[in-house]
């Protein structure tokens, strides 16, 4: 039982005004998430330039300094400046998040579109493979991949991409299956539009927003997964400054010098929260069907 309140034509308005009146501008979560994400990207980009110390330079005269003083967030057991390591680490995290987000988006969209649009046996086989991949917990899949290929940044990215592509693909497939029978697709076929044009001009643009949400979520998870792999000794290898490595470095000092792990963990938590809020905000403003689709499946 809806009250239809807006039947009449809407008067055109400038872009900024439209933005101000869009649901995004009123969604607190979205604004906070976008704010954190923008800040994160900014810090990651300029981090290496504003870092006060070399993130790799050890200084055994000044190990385990508490926060404050010369070292804003203190030093670790090698006397390395935590703040500098975190600033550099932001870059690695951004890179992982960005790469995983865009790669899983790219592959997921291709696979999902194929499965959803071609249908038939292509769909069945791809769906079966996707389901098998989905049955392996994502982190397990990433772990196995890194174990096989070795612990480098590239491999961590590929591993997490491998783990999250099926999730993007399955959402993409669902969205395509939802879009495909819509009348405007039929209508374009009826005027003689060819299939590739159809996918490019109608299917993709309409499917992308919810899938981008999933990709945002997988970017967030990529940061978590990278940290998890580092923790197990399978991530980007030390002494590279990544947030996961900083947590692991601080682990023996959790009782005496907890700031090391806590500051790195907090960085991860804040950025991941930001990405999740951003994804949520976009999802909340999408149409309800897509909200459900992305809700249940993408959270793995």
């Amino acid at each position: 039982m809806t009250v239809s309140l807006d039947n009449g034509p809407v008067v055109a308005m400038p872009a900024w005004k439209r933005w101000m009146r869009s649901p995004y501008a009123r969604h607190t979560g979205f604004l906070v998430g976008a704010g954190i994400t923008v800040l994160f990207v900014f810090v990651a980009l300029i981090g290496p330039f504003i870092a006060p110390y070399d993130p790799l330079a050890t200084d055994l005269q000044n190990v385990l300094q508490p926060p404050g003083g010369e070292h804003l967030l203190g030093t670790d057991r090698y006397g390395r400046d935590i703040a500098s390591r975190l600033l550099w680490g932001a870059q690695a995290s951004l890179f992982v998040a960005l790469a995983v987000g865009s790669l899983s988006l790219l592959f997921g969209v291709i696979l999902g579109t194929l499965a959803g649009f071609v249908g038939g046996w292509t769909d069945r086989i791809m769906l079966a493979v996707i389901n098998i991949l989905l049955a392996f917990p994502g982190f397990l899949l990433a772990l196995a991949f890194v174990a096989i290929r070795g612990s480098t940044l590239t491999n961590v990215i590929l591993a997490v991409t491998l783990a999250y592509t099926p999730r993007v693909a399955i959402v993409m497939r669902a969205v395509v299956l939802n879009i495909r029978p819509r009348q405007f697709i039929e209508a374009s076929f009826a005027v003689g539009v060819s299939t590739p044009t159809m996918i490019w001009k109608h299917v993709l643009p309409n499917c992308l927003p919810p899938v981008i949400v999933v990709a945002t979520v997988s970017a967030a998870f990529a940061i978590l997964a990278e940290a998890g792999l580092s923790f197990l000794g399978l991530g980007v290898q030390p002494p590279a400054p990544t947030w996961g490595n900083v947590i692991t470095d601080g682990r023996p000092f959790l009782i005496s010098d907890p700031w090391i792990s806590i500051s790195a963990g907090a960085c991860i938590a804040v950025v991941v929260t930001g990405l999740n809020l951003l994804g949520d905000g976009v999802r909340d403003t999408l149409d309800p069907f897509l909200r459900n689709q992305t809700g249940a499946r993408a959270l793995k």
């Binding site: 239809s4 807006d6 039947n7 009449g8 055109a12 009123r26 209508a187 374009s188 005027v191 001009k201």
Partner: protein
């Protein structure tokens, strides 16, 4: 009957003197606002009305008129962001708006209950229907489960659920739409409330189902003394059932009065226009329908003064209408009130367009053109589920051996209830769906086997307009890109395309300056115009119109129908018009085919077919459509058929219609036993009906039908008249 009727009438000043004693529901100065992002929206504006127990009040209005919100407020069920900001709702003098939540809950379902539009979604799918009715009893009465069950069975019997005992534990999905609506009515009736608010109770149903439900409501009203509010956009339904009528527009009541007064002596231009713009099944109103310009206003941007003035045939230029909001005032006998400054001027205006405009005789020449499209034995079967075991394949025979031809320049209508295969047929013809077998010849050349490329080329000749103007346009594209698409798809896009697009827009009545706008910036009617422009872009010969007006408000519907007619004349178009609304079909089509379960059961010239329907199903269909004319409607005979359209997965043997056919049942009584077939459910029917699908015959006048016993008149089943 533990409560209800016994309460004495405490209200005074009954505006409609026609009804007798009983409770009274009074709404005074009700104003409901919604806090929306774009600002405060007043959905209901100072509405006052009275409903007495025992009367049926029809509430009519287009989408956004505030009719539903008014009655949700009455029930105390307006939710955030909506809020009642002024006014009162009194039930026998008790102000419901002052009650707390628990007291209000006690009123709902017990004193006032509600029936909603969509029976598919109104029952909780995870509980058996019996439990849902039992819950209603137990929410209000301290009775045992068994007692509640006994009473629930009683109400189920009351609404004619067959074998209620056995179906008590069935789930909603095991019932047809009509049956579910009965269950919902049973729920609403369970505690014998004094008032039932039925919000579009038949809109989601097929006409034969609608007839059943209207019949049921009528019957119940006679048995139980309830005040029934019938919210609807369908004037036919009102004409058939209501005692009084309230017409709403832009959140206000614009006219109210006795049903005959409203239909025959309306005193508000909106009511007049509404009456005129409705196509009628019983007559042809001439070439053009009266249409109201523009579209129903958005509640967020109501015009100043009289909300209707921009669309009014009287007031558009009158300053008073633009500045002064008219209040309801007496406009005639029996509580007839109108909110028009110039209500008196309407005394001489009649609702029947033919008397106003001129009756244009139809030019029969158009129907004798060459056959443009020849369809022979077309079939479209598809598997009923995606995964099936090979030894038990179930097939949906959506289109099952259909042959017909479309002549150049004519409009061929295809009608039928949902599930009859008419839309599938339309899509098969331009091969949006690949038919399973059969031939389709366009201008004599076979197109059912054309390759993708040739078929795309053919789409310059055959085009389609879709039902849902909201879904059929890509929300992300501008009008320009939507209309450019056909040109690009066929390599015809060039420097002049933008100019052509603007021309097209002008042709279909859109402002060419809006070329950069996106679909959501247009109203429903305007969007349908975009859809039509897209179909026209390549100058096709044949346009398949798939329910092009069924999603539109009545006033807009008329505009689009007129537009389609104009375009047909201008571009020498041939139409294949698919619809479920027989009135529209009667208005626009030259020839009509009736489909039932994938087959054509009757086809013929429009006037012949409507005047002299031969197949029992056609007769049933025609009689089920309510006429927007109280006297005629109540005087005529209604054939109500039992059951609903069977599943096309397993259609009945023999004539698909035989299980519901009133003629066959009646015939059986007068036939010798050896010509009858015993049925599983104990009934007997003539053997041919059960055993053989009747061939569609051919007659000289082109009027064909598929019934074994045509001409045997049997309208004595389920007939009622007033």
């Amino acid at each position: 009957m533990q409560d209800g009727g016994a309460v004495p009438n405490t209200a005074d000043g009954n505006p409609s003197a026609s009804t007798a004693s009983g409770s009274r529901l009074s709404v005074r100065g009700l104003t409901v606002q919604f806090a929306m992002p774009m600002g405060i929206v007043r959905a209901v504006d100072n509405v006052s009305l009275d409903i007495a127990q025992g009367e049926t009040v029809g509430v009519v209005g287009e989408s956004g008129s505030g009719k539903s919100v008014t009655f949700l407020s009455v029930m105390g069920m307006v939710r955030q962001p909506g809020r009642i900001v002024a006014g009162s709702v009194e039930l026998d003098g008790r102000d419901l708006s002052q009650l707390d939540r628990e007291e209000l809950r006690g009123i709902r379902g017990r004193d006032i209950s509600m029936v909603f539009q969509d029976p598919q979604t109104s029952l909780n799918p995870v509980f058996p229907i019996g439990k849902q009715i039992v819950d209603v009893f137990r929410a209000h009465l301290p009775i045992s489960k068994d007692e509640a069950r006994r009473r629930a069975l009683e109400v189920l019997d009351l609404v004619h659920i067959p074998e209620a005992k056995n179906r008590f534990d069935s789930f909603p999905h095991e019932f047809s739409g009509g049956m579910r609506q009965r269950v919902l009515i049973a729920m609403a009736l369970a505690l014998r409330p004094r008032f039932i608010i039925a919000d579009e109770p038949t809109t989601a149903l097929d006409v034969t189902m609608q007839a059943q439900i209207l019949e049921l409501l009528h019957e119940l009203k006679q048995e139980i003394n309830i005040g029934l509010v019938l919210i609807t956009h369908d004037l036919g339904v009102v004409a058939r059932s209501a005692d009084r009528v309230i017409v709403m527009y832009g959140g206000k009541i614009v006219e109210q009065g006795d049903v005959r007064t409203i239909f025959y002596e309306p005193r508000h231009p909106y009511t007049v226009s509404l009456m005129r713009s409705m196509p009628r099944i019983d007559m042809v109103r001439g070439e053009r329908l009266h249409s109201i310009g523009g579209s129903p206003p958005s509640l967020s941007g109501l015009p100043a003064g009289c909300a209707f003035h921009p669309r009014c045939f009287l007031g558009a230029e009158r300053p008073k209408c633009r500045t002064e909001t008219p209040e309801l005032h007496d406009a005639g006998r029996g509580g007839h009130r109108s909110a028009c400054h110039y209500a008196n001027e309407l005394e001489l205006v009649s609702t029947d367009a033919p008397k106003v405009g001129e009756v244009v005789a139809r030019a029969g020449a158009q129907t004798t053109g060459e056959a443009l499209l020849e369809v022979r034995d077309l079939r479209m079967h598809y598997p009923a589920a995606s995964f099936q075991v090979p030894w038990n394949r179930k097939v949906v025979k959506a289109v099952d051996g259909v042959s017909f031809s479309v002549r150049e320049g004519e409009t061929l209508g295809i009608v039928g209830e949902s599930g009859c295969g008419k839309s599938t047929l339309g899509r098969c013809l331009i091969r949006l769906i690949e038919p399973t077998s059969g031939s389709i010849a366009f201008r004599g050349s076979e197109i059912s086997h054309l390759g993708v490329r040739d078929m795309r080329a053919l789409r310059t000749d055959i085009q389609m307009v879709f039902q849902d103007p909201y879904a059929s346009l890509d929300p992300r594209m501008t009008v320009e890109s939507i209309l450019r698409e056909p040109f690009e798809a066929h390599g015809q896009a060039d420097a002049r395309t933008t100019h052509k697009i603007k021309e097209l827009m002008a042709h279909v009545g859109l402002n060419p300056e809006h070329i950069e706008r996106r679909p959501h910036e247009f109203s429903g009617g305007q969007r349908q115009r975009i859809g039509i422009a897209r179909a026209l872009a390549l100058k096709p010969k044949l346009i398949i119109l798939d329910e092009p007006v069924s999603a539109l408000d009545v006033s807009v519907q008329a505009q689009i129908i007129n537009l389609l007619k104009d375009l047909q004349a201008e571009f020498k178009l041939t139409y294949l018009f698919i619809a479920h609304d027989l009135s529209v079909v009667r208005h626009i089509c030259d020839r009509v085919m009736v489909m039932y379960l994938g087959r054509i059961i009757e086809a013929g010239d429009r006037d012949t077919l409507f005047a002299d329907p031969r197949h029992p199903y056609t007769k049933v269909l025609l009689s089920a459509v309510p006429l927007p004319d109280p006297d005629k409607e109540r005087a005529r005979a209604h054939v109500v058929v039992p059951g609903s359209v069977p599943s096309p997965i397993n259609p009945p043997r023999g004539c698909h219609f035989h299980p519901r056919c009133p003629s066959a049942a009646a015939l059986a009584g007068s036939m010798p036993a050896d010509e009858l077939e015993q049925l599983a459910d104990g009934g007997v029917l003539p053997k041919p009906c059960v055993n053989a699908y009747p061939d569609i015959g051919a007659e000289a006048d082109g009027h064909v039908q598929a019934c074994h016993f045509v001409g045997v008149d049997n309208q004595n089943t389920g007939t009622r008249g007033r």
